[in-house]
Amino acid sequence: MATVSMTVNGQAVSGEVEGRTLLVQFLRENLNLTGTHVGCDTSQCGACVVHVNGDSMKSCTMLALQADGAEVTTIEGLAQGGEMHPMQQAFQDNHGLQCGFCTPGMVMSAIDLVAKNPNPDEATIREQLEGNICRCTGYHNIVKAVQQAAKATGG
């Protein structure tokens, strides 16, 4: 066991983990932040995406110890003062989610996408979301949501 410390959603946290503990396990099991999901075991689905030092990251693909000292944001950390983040709001407005399981990872990826491509066209959005699998929505409304959020955040 080793001690790991990081900042998660603005709060300093630390915990005891095994060397093999993944960041997603640390978030879900140690911190009870169960909004970040696990949908696969091959780093394909993106249900686990969080932000690590501002970049979207598959938290199943990183050891907790690798995130030592990092700034981590999860889906639970997006809404501010009871107001959803514009991306969250856009997903609701456009019915960009059904079962909600892929949603946290999808929203976290989409925020990073828009941050890096403030004015994405449909093809860019589709290509950039290639690492996030959704079985429910057929992506149509997710694409619309990302377009709305990009506009709303001044892209």
Binding site: G35, V38, F91, Q92, Q98, F101, R126, R135, Y139
Partner: protein, 784 residues
């Protein structure tokens, strides 16, 4: 007009929790003192189990218990059940080979569960599992749908000689033979309906918890139908009596059929929680899911059509085999038979149809209902065959369809394959789809693409499905072992809020919103004052769950009927309070009014009066809380016309869906936004099957080749277009709400539309799904 009632694209009530990470999925649930289960599975497709040595595992660090099949038998826990008994040729009912929760004699597919290790942590359970020593004698295996019934094929079960679980036929063979004998032209196609892994994004999971003080058992589980889970585990598996057993299906991350069934691991968590008197949790890895979730489709088929000189269909013959996997799961043989055969008339007047379906056992995971379940297979073979027939006749695919459509004024229409359609206008939906797709302009687009070295193709799919599952007497007579009614409870709270309990289950379909809209429409209560509750056998009365696009057509009607009972009782209370005759009370938009007067009482006041009955009509019970059960009179028959246009690069085999146009008849839409979302998702599922998805077992070793998202290609955002979705509704005579169901349509309609478009682009007769770049490239090379 009631605000936010039927027809409003209201934003979903459930979204807030999902968008803020506050969803409550089974794997999010942790109980005090919880242990973790890990399943030891067969690495072999087929092997005799000589011995299982658990001694080393038992003493591994953190291991609490290790169990094998005998331990469950010692506690009189029954095996997994098959709920279908379908009568085949010669009056023979399908065989049901027994299946222990943990297999003891033989392993019959890669992933067959043999032992469970339960430990303080998941890591310790996995480490312990490494120490379970199983001595196998490997046996030859068979995974082929086409050949597992061949002489000399390895045999899975004594009960199923030649690996045949059922030989089934449907229709008038003599009439079909006569039609072929006198046909002016015939058409024929041989095709494979590729095997799919359902892959809801949330892996299956279960947490069992036992209270020794009260002898109550609770199971949290990824289920589309918690009451059915409880029923199966009580009635057939003897895990706990229903009244001492609570099954909770909390937020569930997609189902698509795969979470209907009661699985080994779920039974283990429930049983073992009592056995070790501690909570037991199991969560599937995706790899385990690939191995152990029920798969879908997997037919090999020959289909033939007889026609007269005008291209009118006079007879259809289908010879098919369906792969059932290693064991018969809950619906199993009913899918390739009843749910498949009864749809073979499609939208056409074909007077004689004959189907022979052989259900074969193979060394693969069980195959059962998956989004569409039998209806995609029927639609695919039929809509492919119709295009081949058009080619034989030299007719435009739209024209041959029009010549054979059942006309709107022929409804209700009795098909030769059991189903009686109650509504639909197939000419109208096709016309609308062709217009929306600019079918007339296709030639110009094709010519323009050709100038760029690309091949454009356009494909149609005129589909029908039978859903709103299902009239109990009808399915009972066919061998399905349950009633498929639905129930609802509508409870006014004294302060005017309404709690609605439904026996259906939402795992993405948005029931919390759509059902609230239904109640708002019916009772005039603001939608924010209506809460829909599902997924907990301790809260809801009873229910059969969600599958077969049944939630609104069956469950919604139960809710509406419970609302009507509320209104009927409310009229008595209002009449008393307003000093009028009950017959003079009218109800609308939330108000009870004495007809022709301005005397009025709001339903919230009536509810309060019902709970504080100081001034109350004699003989009326206090309270305002009503239950209704609804058993549908018929299936519902959503239908429509889809048009897919593709552009193929013949040099690389890559293709783009340049336009996908859907026109569907779902009857009345309660929430059009949600309906469109259901269509989009179904289309992605169907396009995934057509272009990308394929579950492959190695023919020699029986190993699962496509066992992860790296090997099994799920549709990603960049594989799909945006969709053009429109509606062409007709009124179903059997459904009191005028609704038909929409959750499966896309998955049913899309595969033939896509393949017809590719075949059209390449100028060939047929190619099999999935049309990967390699498949398309080879076909393009062969054709050029």
């Amino acid at each position: 007009m009631v605000e936010n009632g039927i027809g409003a694209s209201l934003k979903r009530k459930e979204d807030n929790r999902f968008l803020t990470g506050k969803g409550n999925y089974t794997d999010d649930i942790n109980r005090p003192g919880q242990t973790y289960a890990y399943i030891v599975r067969s690495p072999h497709a087929h092997a005799t189990i000589n011995s299982v040595d658990i001694s080393a595992a038992k003493s591994a660090p953190g291991v609490v218990a290790v169990f094998v099949g005998q331990d469950l038998l010692d506690d009189a826990v029954g095996g997994l059940v098959c709920g279908a008994s379908v009568t085949g040729k010669g009056g023979e009912v399908n065989k049901v080979p027994p299946r222990n929760v943990l297999t003891m004699d033989k392993a019959r597919f890669v992933g067959d569960p043999i032992a469970v290790v339960i430990a303080e942590t998941l890591a310790q359970a996995k480490d312990g599992a490494e120490l379970v020593a199983i001595d196998y004698t490997e046996l030859p295996s068979t995974v082929s749908t086409a050949n597992s019934d061949a002489d000399g094929a390895p045999q899975l079960h004594e009960e199923c000689p030649n690996n045949v679980a059922l030989d089934w036929e449907l229709g008038d063979k003599a009439a079909v033979d006569a039609a072929f004998a006198s046909a002016a032209k015939t058409a024929e196609v041989e095709l494979v309906n590729n095997r799919m892994v359902t892959n809801a994004m949330e892996p299956r999971a279960a947490v069992g918890e036992y209270n020794s003080g009260t002898d109550d058992l609770t199971l949290y589980v990824t289920s589309q139908n918690p009451h059915v889970h409880r029923l199966v585990m009580s009635a057939f598996m003897n895990i706990a009596p229903e009244h001492k057993f609570r099954v909770v299906a909390p937020d569930v991350g997609g189902g698509f059929g795969s979470k209907i069934f009661t699985y080994n691991e779920e039974a283990i968590c429930a049983w073992a929680a009592k056995r070790i008197n501690r909570p037991v949790k199991w969560t599937s890895d995706r790899s385990e899911g690939f191995m152990s979730d029920a798969h879908g489709r997997d037919h090999v088929t020959k289909a033939e059509m007889a026609m007269d000189a005008d291209g009118k269909f006079t007879g259809m013959r289908v010879t098919s085999k369906g792969n059932m996997g290693a064991y018969l799961q809950l619906f199993s043989v009913s899918i390739p038979t009843l749910f498949h055969g009864f749809l073979l008339a499609g939208q056409y007047t074909t007077p004689a149809i004959y189907l022979e379906m052989r259900c074969v056992m193979t060394n693969t995971a069980p195959v059962d209902a998956a989004r569409g379940a039998g209806r995609p297979e029927a639609t695919y073979l039929l809509e492919r065959l119709v295009d081949v027939a058009a080619g034989e006749m030299g007719l435009d695919p739209a024209e041959i369809r029009r010549r054979n459509f059942i006309k709107a004024d022929q409804m209700p229409y009795q098909t030769p394959v059991v189903q009686c359609y109650d509504s639909g206008d197939y000419h109208a939906s096709l016309d609308m789809a062709l217009k929306n797709a600019d079918y007339d302009g296709f030639g110009a687009r094709q010519a323009e693409a050709k100038g760029r070295g690309k091949l454009r193709g356009i494909g149609l799919s005129s589909y029908i499905e039978a859903c709103g599952v299902a009239p109990s007497a009808a399915v009972g007579s066919l061998g399905v072992g349950v009633g498929l009614w639905e129930s609802a409870q509508v409870r006014f709270n004294p302060t005017g809020g309404v709690t609605v309990f439904t026996g259906t289950h939402s795992h993405g379909q948005g029931h919390e919103t759509a059902f609230a809209q239904l109640v708002t429409e019916r009772l005039g209560v603001p939608v924010e004052n209506v809460e829909v509750v599902h997924g907990d056998t301790d809260k809801g009365q009873f229910g059969m769950g969600t599958y077969g696009s049944r939630s609104l057509p069956v469950g919604g009607v139960a809710i509406a009927n419970a609302c009507d009972k509320i209104i009927a009782k409310g009229k008595k209370i209002a009449a008393h309070c307003l000093e009028a005759a009950e017959d003079d009370i009218e109800f609308g938009e939330g108000n009870f009014t004495v007809a022709g007067t301005d005397k009025v009482m709001n339903i919230a006041e009536v509810a309060f009066t019902a709970y504080v009955p100081h001034n109350y009509p004699e003989g009326v019970e206090p309270g305002l809380d009503e239950i209704a059960f609804f058993d549908p009179l018929n299936f519902s028959f959503p239908a429509g016309a889809h048009v897919c246009e593709v552009e193929v690069d013949p040099d690389t085999g890559t293709l783009e869906i340049v336009k996908y146009t859907a026109v569907d008849d779902f009857g009345t839409l309660v929430n059009p936004m949600i309906v469109a979302g259901q269509v989009h998702g179904g289309l992605a599922h169907g396009i995934g099957q057509a272009l990308l998805e394929n579950c492959v077992y190695d023919e020699d070793t029986g190993q699962l080749v496509s066992g992860s998202f790296q090997d099994y290609c799920m549709p990603r955002a960049d594989n799909l277009p945006s969709f053009d979705v429109d509606y062409c509704p007709t009124v179903p005579i059997h459904n009191p709400l005028g609704v038909k169901g929409c959750g499966e349509a896309g998955a049913i309609a899309a595969p033939p539309a896509v393949i017809n478009a590719i075949v059209n682009a390449l100028g060939i007769k047929h190619l099999d799904m999935p049309a990967t770049p390699e498949v398309v490239w080879r076909a393009a090379q062969a054709a050029s």
